[in-house]
């Protein structure tokens, strides 16, 4: 069994709080972590390895410090790491990111049975890279998966439950397939001491576009169809009023205000 996990390193907090004096965002000193949804993806791959044997390869793209995310994944029990890190990849949008990840998988780990991703990253929140990778590899995608019911490597079959707005959809698919997971699916394991030692010794080369057969005009800023033209900080939501008084009285006032707002 060969499972691949695509991960991303993100800032720990979605923002970082507002400096009360200057009313600006404070972002310095935020630790980088593995995107929380990706931890569930790693765990799901490791669970499959625990059951069926084989190996787990973890892939990421990012600046040099993103190697930490790969090492953490290795420390959790992943076996191999692929690191796309080059000026040529910088500034990639989701189209260019999924192109590069798909190329990396095709050139370095083409013998996979299943690919796991988190449903989305908590910084960009797009949920677009997983489907993009699946499409480029020409394999089925199973998104928002909250449970893997069955994996049959012999019969090349997977059955999953997808968490949708109004309930759960049970879907069967052929393998290889790409699965994006939500939080509910498992409890990610901790790093082990042996794993940490192994990870610290791992040499993870930085691959550039030509190493994985990417055409440079399709990667990074040059290859990204979308372009950020402006970024601004929205007016922070202003708090309203705290309704004074004893609970009885305060609730009466609140009910009146809600009735007045004509939303009920």
């Amino acid at each position: 069994m060969h499972a691949i996990v695509c991960i991303k390193q993100v800032p720990e907090s979605p923002s970082v709080g507002i400096d009360p004096k200057t009313n600006t965002l404070i972002r310095q000193g935020i630790p980088s972590i593995i995107n929380p949804f990706d931890l569930y993806a790693i765990e799901e791959a490791l669970l499959l390895k625990d059951k069926s044997g084989g190996k787990v390869t973890v892939v990421t793209m990012g600046p040099p410090q993103a190697v930490d995310a790969l090492k953490e994944a290795l420390a959790m029990g992943c076996d191999e790491a692929i690191f796309l890190c080059d000026k040529g990849f910088a500034g990639s949008d989701t189209w260019a990111t999924s192109y590069a990840l798909a190329k990396a998988i095709q050139s370095k780990a083409a013998d996979y049975d299943v690919i796991f991703c988190g449903k989305q990253a908590i910084d960009g929140d797009t949920a677009q890279v997983g489907p993009g990778v699946a499409r480029r590899l020409g394999i089925p995608q199973l998104t928002y998966v909250c449970k893997v019911r069955e994996v049959d490597l012999e019969a090349k079959k997977i059955v999953v439950e997808r968490l949708l707005e109004a309930g759960k959809e049970v879907v069967e698919s052929r393998l290889p397939a790409l699965v994006t997971v939500v939080k509910d699916i498992n409890k990610p394991r901790f790093r082990t001491l042996i794993g940490i030692r192994k990870a610290s010794q791992a040499q993870i080369p930085m691959l550039k576009p030509s190493d994985i057969g990417c055409e440079e005009e399709h990667t990074g800023l040059a290859g990204s169809p979308t372009e950020v033209v402006k970024i601004f900080t929205p007016e922070p939501r202003k708090g309203g009023q705290v309704i004074e008084g004893e609970p009885e009285e305060a609730c009466e006032t609140l009910v009146q205000k809600l009735m007045d707002a004509k939303i009920l």
Partner: protein, 431 residues
């Protein structure tokens, strides 16, 4: 944007997220990002430092320094009053396609047994506005096994025409047959703009479709407008939990694709009798070829979990202290006909199931009324609900951050206040 992005100022990164010896490998120092600083022009004002989502810019003396963690997202460039930050885009290759060949605005219609989904109608409203600006037609794309009966509803909400594909392989939404069908139609008719709802299905569909037809896609937009000079669609979307808004364009590729967050765009007025043209399309689909099969759909018990569609959400957090106490929340939700939400703390404690979780690692919701009970208001929770129309907070800690975003706050013990509220509302609403 910056999909390859990462974060945080290396030098002060705290808390071991990985093995401590991790820095060793990084002996080779080289400037990764393409972003450059023109030191002559930099005044050291620090505007860019505040703008950078990744904490990759720091002030050093009188000038800014760009750290390794820069991802070339470009956020800082516009923030610099003295044009000292330069992100040289590689020589713009010309358009990837003949832009003038693309016209019309399309929306992809989601529906269920009850009919056209709310978000599809919202898209029609926005789509109408965009089509009028561009001077083109608004078309709806409806895929399914038997969907012709939906078109009148689409015309009544502003569509000029509806492309309808009916095929047994399209009975239930599945990525591959839907993408294949939509891609064929897009290649044939060449729309300039394609909009989908940012629902689970819409995002599954759009992500694969954009890769298939090789164009840009902007997720979860909350604003869309046309730039008059270039005819480009300017797409505004929140990132970093809504703490930053980004405007994104797709200049060289067509169609320009966005998913649009439900409940943001206004519902258009219904115009009964407004007619449009139905265009039935035949698409050859080989069902054998598709490798996925929907086995069943398990609807959630009761109506309290569908947070996406709810107009009222009552959420409980750590303050509930015990799973049994969610009953207090449920009763209020019932009186209001709303759904039940929860903070991450309540879900992680096992008090309520994950589908109820609101926030960064749960759902992003935008009801008319959000009532937070016993929720302190961690930034991760706020990221999931702070765009609700009215927020009510009940918490006994007057310093809880939730009060900073609440329209109305009640400082009280929730076990006292919430049942009182339930009782009073029940009387007022006559339930």
């Amino acid at each position: 944007m910056a999909a390859a992005g990462t974060a945080a100022v290396r030098a002060v990164a705290v808390r071991a997220a990985g093995p401590r010896s991790r820095l060793k490998q990084r002996t080779k120092r080289y400037r990764l990002p393409n972003l450059r600083l023109d030191e002559e022009n930099c005044t050291g004002c620090g505007a860019c430092v505040d703008t950078c989502p990744f904490g990759a810019l720091v002030l050093e003396g009188a000038v800014v320094r760009i750290l390794d963690s820069c991802t070339d997202c470009g956020a800082c460039v516009g923030s610099c009053p003295s044009e000292a930050l330069i992100l040289e885009r590689p020589k713009a290759a010309g358009p990837a396609v003949d832009l003038s060949a693309y016209k019309d605005v399309w929306i992809v219609v989601e529906y269920d047994r009850k009919g056209v989904s709310h978000v599809a109608l919202e898209l029609l409203g926005k789509g109408r506005e965009l089509a009028d600006r561009l001077g083109c037609r608004l078309a709806a794309l409806v895929l399914g096994e038997s969907v012709s009966h939906l078109t009148d509803e689409l015309f009544a909400h502003g569509a000029d025409l509806a492309y309808v594909v009916e095929h047994a392989a399209l009975k239930k939404y599945r990525t591959d047959p839907y993408v294949e069908t939509a891609a064929q139609l897009i290649r044939k008719h060449k729309p300039e703009v394609v909009l989908l709802g940012a629902t689970t299905t819409g995002r599954d569909f759009a992500g694969a479709l954009a890769a298939e037809i090789d164009t840009g896609l902007t997720a979860d937009c909350t604003g869309l407008e046309i730039d008059a000079a270039s005819r480009n669609l300017v797409q505004t979307r929140p990132a970093f939990g809504g703490n930053i808004m980004a405007q994104i364009v797709c200049k060289r590729h067509r169609p320009q694709m966005s998913t649009v967050r439900p409940k943001v765009m206004e519902l258009p007025k219904r115009r009964d009798g407004h007619k449009g043209q139905v265009v039935k399309e035949e698409v050859a689909l080989d069902d054998e070829k598709f490798l996925t099969k929907v086995l069943e759909f398990v609807k959630e018990e009761g109506s309290t979990v569908n947070l996406a569609d709810a107009n009222v959400i009552v959420s409980g957090g750590r303050g509930l202290q015990d799973p049994a106490n969610f009953k207090v929340i449920e009763e209020l939700a019932k009186v209001l006909g709303g759904a039940v939400g929860a903070s991450r703390a309540a879900v992680d404690a096992g008090w309520i199931a994950y589908p109820h979780q609101v926030g960064q690692t749960g759902k992003t919701v935008r009801p008319k009324l959000y009532i937070a009970c016993g929720i302190s208001g961690a930034i991760q929770h706020l990221a999931g609900m702070q765009t609700s129309d009215i927020i009510v907070a009940v918490n006994k800690d007057p310093d809880a951050p939730i009060f900073k975003v609440a329209t109305f706050g009640v400082v009280a013990d929730l076990f006292q206040a919430v049942p009182l509220l339930t009782e009073k509302l029940r009387k007022r609403l006559g339930k």
